[in-house]
């Protein structure tokens, strides 16, 4: 049969040749891998940490930053579409131990986000609905209960319940969850739209309510000034540094690279390029719109002052009912319509629940790959016959998430998130370096890439320039996350995690060799002659 759209290429009747997925389908996959719920808390962190950040502009400025690594990933994937993404490129270009190191590291970082989402799911919509109902109905007991439930011990237990519930759903409810997952994603859009609509509609009464609760404009400004902070207005430096928090919200936008099809032609690349850039644009717009209306309702100075008090853990932070200054919890101060408030809370909870489902595919794929490579025991690939899900892989995710959840008790959420995101982009620095040096170290891999990126500019192929760009941008993001302050415990933990990967690899290598398994052959490049 002649494929007329590519005039030199003829295809015979044979199995397995499937057309690439439509760009809009891969776009939905890409967006679902990013966490819409992040808009509720990322900006509280960024606004409190980075002096003068303009959250709206920061949302949009990340776009050009995200494009370079996105292009690098998209081109590398078009050449090596189905073989494990950055794990395999780095293994082939450097050494399998390096590939495993970054893949293990990135997977562990995913578990940090699951832990964080467990915490946020507890603190923002769950406890928010309790204390918010109390505020709206004038029930002081519920308000007190909400404050109690936010204390670290209860937050830990509550988030534990949420994480285990996510895990159980992932194991036993995967089939059902897959059917409703698009609904979970759309609930994020609905939650945000409803939240912003109520914020604007009830703006005046929200401000009045906050003032009555001792968190009015002047009070908060004075408290912040007393704590050493005066909102300076918007500043370019703060904005450029703070855009890192859009980056943390965008983590996962390149995961679409793992689902490309068998046919390698430029038209198929649309299924990769469109979702990468499309998802970046969508998340940038969602963040920008959220912060635009947040500023409009609350004013930038107020939001920044409040965020500062929260992020430094000040005892003067005036909103005991809000573990994180967030626009959902603030609605309750405006005595908004209770039914709408609760509906919004449920929608936000579903949004938080959707994130672990979206990332389950990525981390279980990684765990399977490690098991097939004999790095971890093969029983991790066991699939529950009843549920059809990899039960031990999900269990591992739950256990590690709980460990990170416990770690929060000693470091606090902002640093947990910051170091998680920093870790992710540190892994990208290493991947970027592999892409950079590929043309020297493994020139035959370069041959697999499209001509557009094999072409040399100033002696180096375009793909290598993209690798260099990935290093610089990712390195900048790591710096931006760490810049506000280095938390020794968190830093030590992350470095230990980076070393843990190669240690696990070395131990498994030794054990396999003792068993007589020729592991040195696993990724040995075979010569054709």
């Amino acid at each position: 049969m002649a494929d007329e759209s590519v005039s030199s290429l003829f295809t015979r009747k044979s199995s397995g040749l499937i057309r690439s997925i439509a760009p809009h389908h891969s776009l939905s996959y890409a967006v679902m891998n990013m966490a819409i719920g992040g808009v509720l808390f990322n900006w509280a962190v960024a606004s409190g940490i980075y002096l003068g950040i303009n959250d709206v502009w920061a949302s949009l400025l990340f776009l050009p930053f995200g494009i370079i690594p996105g292009l690098a990933y998209a081109y590398m994937t078009s050449a090596m579409p189905r073989t494990g993404g950055d794990y395999v490129w780095t293994s082939r270009i450097y050494h399998p131990i390096i590939g495993f190191m970054i893949n293990f590291y990135a997977t562990m970082v995913y578990f940090i986000f699951i832990a964080a989402f467990g915490l946020f799911a507890w603190q923002i919509p769950i406890v928010g609905m309790v204390s918010g109902t109390g505020l709206i109905t004038g029930n002081a007991s519920l308000v007190s209960l909400g404050s109690i439930l936010l204390q670290p011990t209860f937050a830990f237990i509550g988030s534990l319940i949420v994480i285990v519930a996510f895990g159980l759903l992932a194991v036993f409810g995967a089939k059902i969850a897959n059917k409703i997952a698009i609904g979970l994603f759309l609930s994020g859009i609905a939650a945000l739209a409803l939240n912003l609509a109520m914020l604007m509609y009830y703006k005046s009464s929200i401000i009045s309510g906050l003032t009555a609760a001792g968190a009015g404009y002047k009070t908060v400004a004075n408290l912040a000034a007393h704590a050493g902070y005066v909102f300076p207005g918007f500043a370019a430096l703060g904005t450029f540094l703070g855009l890192a928090w859009v980056a943390s919200n965008s983590i996962g936008y390149t995961n679409v690279c793992y689902i490309s099809g068998e046919i390698k032609d430029p038209r198929a690349a649309k299924s990769t390029f469109i979702p990468i850039f499309g998802s970046l644009v969508i998340i940038a717009i969602l963040n920008a719109v959220t912060m635009y209306y947040t500023y409009l309702a609350l004013t930038p100075a107020y939001y920044h002052d409040l965020s500062y008090l929260w992020v430094i853990g000040s005892s003067s932070y005036p909103l005991a009912t809000l573990a994180v200054p967030n626009i959902y919890g603030m609605l309750a101060y405006g005595h908004v319509n209770l039914a709408l408030y609760l509906i919004d809370g449920v929608l936000w909870l579903l949004t938080f629940a959707s994130f672990p489902f979206a990332v389950t595919y990525v981390f279980t794929r990684n765990i399977f790959a490690w098991s097939f490579d004999r790095i971890i025991p093969s029983w991790f690939t066991k699939v529950s016959k009843r549920a059809g899900t990899p039960i031990y892989a999900v269990l591992l995710a739950v256990v590690v998430s709980i460990i990170w959840d416990y770690f929060y008790m000693y470091t606090g959420l902002p640093s947990l998130l910051a170091y998680g995101a920093a870790g992710w982009y540190l892994a990208w620095v290493i991947v970027g370096s592999a892409i950079l040096v590929m043309f020297r170290v493994r020139p035959e891999l370069l041959e697999l890439l499209p001509e557009a990126v094999r072409r040399k500019v100033s002696g180096m192929p375009v793909i290598s320039w993209l690798g260099l760009g990935t290093i610089l941008i990712s390195g900048y993001l790591v710096y931006a996350y760490m810049m506000p302050g280095v938390f020794a415990v968190a830093l030590v933990f992350l470095i230990a995690l980076l070393i843990l990967g190669p240690v696990i690899y070395a131990i498994s290598y030794y054990i396999n060799k003792q068993r007589g398994i020729p592991v040195e052959l696993a990724r040995k490049l075979l010569p054709p002659e």
């Binding site: 049969m1 002649a2 590519v6 005039s7 030199s8 290429l9 003829f10 295809t11 015979r12 044979s14 199995s15 397995g16 040749l17 499937i18 057309r19 389908h25 939905s28 996959y29 890409a30 967006v31 679902m32 050449a79 090596m80 579409p81 189905r82 073989t83 969850a177 897959n178 059917k179 997952a181 698009i182 689902i259 068998e262 390698k264 032609d265 038209r267 979206a358 595919y361 097939f372 490579d373 004999r374 093969s378 690939t381 035959e444 041959e447 697999l448 499209p450 001509e451 396999n512 068993r515 007589g516 398994i517 020729p518 052959l521 696993a522 990724r523 040995k524 075979l526 054709p528 002659e529």
Partner: protein, 319 residues
């Protein structure tokens, strides 16, 4: 006491990629394999026409236009295509128009280039396997036309085990079938499950020691994680699930699954689903699919060390 161990190297779905076939031949030596097997689907799927235009040749491939001024440039390009599993075909503009209209003519051209490549491989293998003490088996799969068998039969060092029982060593018998259960593409070597079951039973009856037997069946057994493929719609586009990911479904053969459950051989060697690299146990039978990355020039395989009554070790490879 002498411990008996046979090292078996299994690959599958090389789909016309000369680079991966050459790597297979190298692997026999480098991996020190006693037995090496290609489990099916050895022919490619796509043909690239190269147009003669006076003193030059022109081709369009992967969205890029190529112009060749001499034979060396052209051969390099054709070699690159062959490495990725494509067939290069030099032709004229007029003939290309005919190929676009005339399916029968296109099929004849495909047959010519496919068999030509298999002949090249047979010659190459006979040269490179000379002197090696390994048993090499190459079986067609459901994608491969029946004419391929005749070309393979001419090989001095490779054996086509299709439909036969062979002894790979003193303790292990292997039965081989390159059929697949019916696919959406309805290929000549696709077989309905009922007929597949009968064929398997016929072969299995020849096995003397089932607990040490190897089933070299191109299609994976249904229900094992090595048979997961994206669900397709009527236009052969992958269906996306509600979560935006592919809907992976089991597409393996129920007849093969039933046979493995019933006979419980030692080992199942499978391919067919390139993206379903992995292994599973069905009772006492260890089933493995090394997957395929032929288009990237990578040879996916599995090294197994077999002793009497057990699989001593296994290792998925990517070389």
């Amino acid at each position: 006491m002498i411990f008996f161990v046979t090292r078996l190297f299994f690959v599958t779905d090389v789909h016309g990629s000369t680079l991966t076939f050459k790597k297979f031949l190298s692997a026999v030596r480098i991996y020190k394999a006693d037995v090496a097997i290609i489990g099916g689907d050895i022919t490619g799927k796509q043909l690239v026409t190269i147009l003669e235009e006076g003193d030059t040749w022109r081709a369009s491939f992967m969205g890029q236009e190529y112009l060749f001024h001499n034979e060396d440039e052209l051969r390099r390009f054709e070699g690159k295509l062959a490495d990725q599993g494509y067939y290069a075909y030099r032709t004229t503009g007029k003939e290309r128009e005919e190929l676009m209209r005339d399916n029968e003519k296109l099929n004849r051209v495909f047959k010519e280039v496919i068999l030509g490549r298999v002949r090249e491989w047979v010659e190459l293998a006979d040269e490179r396997l000379k002197g090696l003490n390994a048993k090499v088996f190459v079986q067609p799969g459901n994608d491969d036309t029946w004419e391929v068998d005749e070309v393979l039969a001419a090989s001095k060092h490779m054996v086509n085990p299709w439909g036969k029982k062979v002894n790979i060593d003193d303790h292990h018998e292997m039965i081989s079938l390159g059929y697949a259960n019916k696919t959406p593409w309805d290929l000549p070597r696709d077989l309905p499950e009922g007929e597949l079951a009968q064929t398997i039973d016929g072969l299995a009856s020849q096995v003397e020691d089932m607990k040490n037997a190897i089933y070299n069946f191109h299609a994976p057994p249904y229900g094992c994680p090595i048979d997961l493929a994206p669900e397709l719609d009527e236009n052969l586009k992958p269906k996306l699930g509600a979560s935006g990911t592919f809907n992976f479904i089991h597409v393996g053969s129920r007849a093969i699954a039933d046979a493995i459950a019933k006979y419980q051989p030692l080992l199942g060697l499978h391919g067919h689903i390139h993206e379903s690299r992995g292994f599973c146990k069905m009772g006492r039978t260890f089933c493995v699919n090394p997957g395929s990355s032929y288009s990237e020039g990578l040879l996916n395989g599995v090294i197994l060390e077999l002793s009497k009554n057990k699989i001593k070790s296994y290792l998925l490879t990517e070389g």
